[in-house]
């Protein structure tokens, strides 16, 4: 019976599905336009940074010139260091706080939500106006050390780190896990490290990747405070030698691409966090 009826029934739904599922041609035209808009600048970067090298060595001339510059290496290294410091400071500050708020002070969650969007209202160029004189007055030794950038970037990363951790903690049954751990004799810090953290791994990695992307690309505060980070170096080189600047832009593109690809591969855990942009 089934063998007879299945072939008889199949063609009809198929035809309906086909008729319904044919997308209008203009959809493809729009998608093509969007793809062109996305890809043309990237094609141009590659094309531009490889050209103008006649009689100046290989086709990677501008990249090799940049790699040879000791300032490239020092600025890149500085940005990597600051990015790592930002991630560590951000995790040390945020993980226990968000954990604690979820566990003991759930009434404060709306307040935390609100605080975490303040960095959008006070963008870097605005915050630096209020921060610069304050840091100068308060402790001038802090002002001249690049570590201060990491401390400020924690604020810029706050919305992303908070969202990632908040989503991660909401996805697990925090109360049951904590009660189970404590009834087995674990202290709160031990619960946090041995039970909660492993469950938050995706959220922590996702938030950290976005934080790295922010810290590696931040230009406003670094340039106004006079630190030659990778973004500031890119700017300084680019306004004097366009080709080298574009080569550096391509390296930045690969970095952002790598961070976002990693987020994408993280899957669901990172997706909610990735759906927000860092605009500087």
């Amino acid at each position: 019976m089934a063998q007879v009826s299945v072939p008889a029934v199949r063609p009809a739904p198929n035809r309906i599905r086909q008729a319904k599922h044919r997308a209008p041609v203009w959809n493809f035209v729009l998608l093509l336009l969007g793809a062109i808009f996305f890809l043309v600048p990237i094609y141009s970067i590659v094309q531009f940074s490889l050209q103008g090298t006649a009689g100046q060595g290989g086709f990677l001339h501008w990249y090799l010139t940049v790699f040879d510059d000791p300032v490239f290496r020092s600025s890149f290294w500085l940005s990597v260091q600051i990015a790592l410091e930002t991630v560590i400071a951000s995790l040390v500050l945020m993980v226990p706080t968000v954990f604690w708020v979820h566990l003991r002070l759930p009434g404060l969650r709306p307040v935390m939500d609100l605080v975490s969007v303040i960095p959008f209202v006070v963008p870097p160029i605005v915050l630096i106006v209020g921060l610069a004189p304050f840091l100068k007055d308060f402790s001038s030794w802090l002002f001249v050390r690049p570590e201060v950038l990491a401390l400020i970037y924690v604020v810029f990363a706050l919305p992303f780190m908070y969202r990632a951790l908040d989503a991660g903690l909401r996805a697990i049954d925090l109360k049951t896990l904590t009660e189970a751990a404590q009834s087995l004799g674990a202290s709160i810090p031990r619960t946090l490290f041995r039970v909660i953290l492993p469950n938050l791994r995706t959220a922590i990695i996702g938030g950290s990747l976005l934080t790295v992307a922010i810290a590696m690309g931040e230009f406003t505060v670094a340039s106004l405070m006079g630190f030659t980070t990778f973004a500031v170096y890119t700017y300084q080189i680019g306004i004097s030698t366009a080709y080298e600047g574009v080569a550096l832009a391509f390296i930045s593109f690969l970095l952002v691409w790598g961070a976002m690809l990693a987020l994408y591969l993280l899957g669901r855990g990172g997706r909610g966090a990735a759906a927000v942009a860092i605009t500087d």
């Binding site: 998608l31 094609y43 500050l93 604690w100 605005v126 230009f219 700017y235 680019g238 930045s252």
Partner: protein
């Protein structure tokens, strides 16, 4: 079963020691607040106090006496021109990115579009929305600058876009900004369009509505507040951009003026930076308020 057991035990437990429960609970709550003190202190030092400081600074002279002079300064050259260009650039780039983002998101969410196109668009948008700042400006220098790849291509085709076009002009800068506005709109628009229930679409088409009729009478009326809200959000996003504008070489923008004042490069009252920064906060607060009001309207439908 076991859950109710736990619940009952929790309810019963305090009873034998009812007298001592209240003080113990309040003490534990006081301890609970201690747990967020580090965060509160950090955010105060690096975010709240500086923000308060700059708002107060807008009404003070360099010596610390109260004044409205800084606020008056905002309305004198060169700032009104800077505000005008900032507003125009933010509005145009939000409109381009917003409309384009909406129609493209709608196109790849359409039935019959292969899934891989959709996930390629979403993941590329995640990347492009974050590819802003100095590298973006240089990327467009390589594309549409006077020696850019596309500029030269158009020249070969007989189309000379220079000197009437420039990346520092309104149209040029808006195209550059659109590179992060457009993907941001896509990312924010996808959940909104997906929230439009298939039943509504099916009901409309069962009643004989074309795609156009569906959008005209069902889709757009539901989505419009959300659409407008997101465009307003894009506006605020463009308004606070600095790095992209600086690397493009735009000179008359609010964020650029603030940076010049912070650097001490301007022969103007340095206290103006506080007034300009406060004005920016005000504008962004207004945009976010409009956004959340419009969002609340739509969320009634999209659930």
């Amino acid at each position: 079963m076991s859950f109710t057991g736990v619940g009952v035990r929790e309810e019963l437990q305090p009873n034998p020691t009812a007298g001592s429960v209240a003080p113990r609970r309040s003490r534990s709550r006081r301890w609970a607040f201690v747990g967020i003190l580090p965060f509160a202190a950090y955010i105060s030092i690096f975010l709240l106090i500086p923000t308060g400081e700059l708002i107060v600074g807008a009404f003070r002279t360099a010596n610390g006496t109260w004044t409205l002079a800084n606020i008056h300064d905002i309305f004198r050259a060169p700032y009104p021109q800077a505000f005008e260009f900032s507003l125009e650039l933010s509005a145009l780039s939000a409109a381009i990115g917003g409309i384009f983002g909406f129609v493209v998101a709608n196109a790849f969410l359409h039935r019959g579009i292969p899934r891989w196109i959709r996930s390629a668009y979403i993941s590329f948008s995640g990347m492009a929305a974050n590819f802003a700042g100095v590298p973006l400006a240089f990327a467009y220098g390589a594309t549409l600058g006077s020696l850019g790849v596309v500029t030269i291509l158009l020249k070969h085709l007989g189309l000379h876009i220079y000197p009437s076009f420039s990346l520092q002009g309104l149209l040029g800068a808006s195209i550059v900004y659109a590179y992060f506005q457009f993907p941001l709109m896509i990312l924010l628009m996808v959940p909104v369009i997906e929230g439009l229930r298939t039943e509504w679409r099916e009901a409309a088409s069962n009643l004989g509505a074309s795609t156009f009729t569906f959008w005209r009478y069902v889709g757009l009326p539901i989505i419009t507040p959300s659409l407008l809200g997101l465009v307003v959000l894009l506006f605020g996003n463009a308004f606070s951009a600095y790095a992209t504008a600086q690397a493009l070489g735009i000179s008359n923008l609010v964020t650029i003026d603030i940076a010049q004042l912070v650097n001490g490069n301007m022969t103007l009252n340095p206290q103006d930076a506080y007034a300009l920064a406060s004005a920016m906060i005000l504008i962004i607060v207004v945009t976010i308020t409009i956004y959340s009001l419009l969002q609340r309207r739509t969320s009634k439908w999209l659930r």
